[in-house]
Point group: C2
Chain length 125, copies 2
DNA sequence: CTGAATCCTTTTAGATACTG
DNA sequence: CAGTATCTAAAAGGATTCAG
């Protein structure tokens, strides 16, 4: 909090695109839940489906495919009957933790609509 | 990096929604550019329009309105002719800096598609 | 058990013209 | 100068059905 970003460096135009891309990678509706569960341990598809409240089979598959394509989860297929698929972390996933943590801290402080509205009002006065 | 989030605490279901909301707040296509410029100093509408490459008047207005509604920018109208409107930071904006910084760090390390793909491949092997 | 295919709704972004 | 009003396009999310 004592380290204003803007005072430290400028941002090149291309970096905005990269930063936006980073946001896109984790902005899927279920991706944070998925990643969080995987931070604890590898999970099977059915485990994720049962654990994540409200997600459909279709959406879970799609979010996992996107995460996999972006290198944020690993997908391991075991040649068994019945089939077993396990999802796990990558180095990129692990490196993402501090950013998620920082966002969660901020969300707890300022993420509440009422609180944010109050802050804005106070700033206007 | 030495502090795995998952090892420290669990996340309540409601917190996922809050975290997703935080992401939504900053996920607009032009919001990061806007916030970054405002971190340096207050800007007028026309200044933002000229400085941010590729944004249209319409989109800039909409993104600013959303940021304002979310308490991430202040909007000050000066009763002058011609009209002058200035946008600035709020406490919530300032508190957001560390999270943006963390995301940008991660993006520089893992945000490149090629790099991410390589990481994923290495993890699979 | 894991997931692909199809169709549909909602959200977000953008282009264009007009205004106090 | 700083917007608003329409309209259109693209992306994201979701329900349902079928399959190795």
């Amino acid at each position: 909090m004592d380290v204003p970003i803007a005072k430290n460096r400028d941002v090149k135009p291309e970096e905005y695109a990269e930063l936006r891309r980073a946001l896109t990678l984790i902005s899927g509706k279920w991706k944070l839940e998925i990643l969080w569960l995987l931070y604890h341990r590898p999970h099977r598809f059915g485990e994720l489906l049962r654990t994540i409240n409200g997600v459909t089979q279709h959406m879970l598959t799609r979010q996992l495919r996107e995460l996999e394509a972006d290198g944020l989860v690993t997908r391991t297929v075991f040649a068994e009957v019945p089939p077993r698929v396990e999802y796990g972390m990558t180095d990129a996933t692990i490196a993402l933790e501090p950013a998620i943590w920082a966002l969660m801290e901020w969300s707890r402080e300022f993420g509440t609509p009422a609180r944010i509205a109050a802050e804005a009002k106070a700033a206007r006065d």
